[in-house]
């Protein structure tokens, strides 16, 4: 058997995919964050990204899907699809709610007039903490549902 080349990292070529489905209940958010952080840690993501970018941005996407998308309707589910490899993380968070325009809901949370507002930092934080945040129509066949895709480089 040939020895492994010393220069090739042991996680090169490794790709982790996860599918998670949860009820529309914010009590599940912390658990999903832990499930997603684990493969990111295994693949040696930057510690700051593990401690800040991933948990905060993912919490925002999940709470938006549960509260604003599904309105905590127990009949509706939130589906999370995760792909992690050495280049980074891609997470899709899909709700069953009315389609929305994410840019229309974006405001500068740091503007003086918004600083003392209790709400309005969710999408702002997702955009600041991820390399890319996109919204697609869910392929649900019902004319409803949003997919918010978060993309983050590993390093």
């Amino acid at each position: 058997m040939l020895p492994m080349a010393a220069s090739s990292p042991p996680d090169a070529g490794l790709r982790v995919s996860l599918e998670v489905e949860i009820p529309s209940d914010v009590a599940y958010i912390e658990r999903v964050v832990d499930l997603v952080r684990h493969p990111c840690a295994e693949l040696a993501f930057d510690p700051r990204k593990l401690a800040l970018n991933v948990p905060v941005a993912l919490s925002e996407a999940l709470s938006n899907a549960i509260l604003r998308g599904n309105h905590e309707d127990p009949a509706k589910r939130v589906r999370i699809r995760v792909a992690v490899d050495t280049s980074g993380l891609v997470v899709d968070v899909e709700d069953e709610g009315v389609r929305f325009d994410m840019d229309a809901n974006m405001r500068d949370a740091t503007a003086p007039e918004n600083l003392e507002r209790e709400d309005g930092r969710g999408i702002f934080l997702m955009r600041r903490l991820m390399d890319r945040v996109e919204r697609f129509d869910a392929d649900s066949g019902t004319g409803q549902g949003n997919v918010v895709r978060l993309t983050l480089r590993r390093g």
């Binding site: 914010v26 912390e30 800040l52 600083l115 209790e118 709400d119 930092r121 702002f124």
Partner: protein, 110 residues
């Protein structure tokens, strides 16, 4: 995740253990508002044992700070790690709160 409250002299100190997120922010809000109703004026939230904070957690801190100020009191924060400091800087909430590096420094700053 949990919150523990104790008094240090005239100051109500709240320790946030774990996350401060959408699922538990109301519990923190209610605990602090109960103390405010009892007439307490000086509040310190210590984040030494905190993991991450989401936008609803930040929102609750902003809302509590306003309510406490309206009653003539003050809310201060302590022990933000580097990641939490970055979160406060990104949202410019570091300009809204008095933040101390240690609990002792925060307690002596009132």
């Amino acid at each position: 995740m949990s919150f523990s409250i104790k008094k240090e002299g005239e100051i109500v100190v709240v320790d946030v253990e774990g996350q401060l997120i959408v699922g538990n922010r109301q519990e923190l809000k209610q605990k602090v508002l109960d103390e405010l109703e009892r007439g307490e004026k000086k509040f310190l939230i210590d984040f030494a044992q905190t993991g991450y904070i989401d936008s609803s957690g930040l929102g609750v801190l902003v809302s509590l700070s306003k309510k406490i100020r309206e009653q003539g009191g003050e809310l201060r924060l302590a022990n933000l790690n580097d990641d939490l400091k970055t979160l406060f800087e990104l949202t410019k909430l570091d300009t809204l709160f008095q933040i101390s590096d240690t609990r002792d420094r925060a307690l002596s700053s009132f």
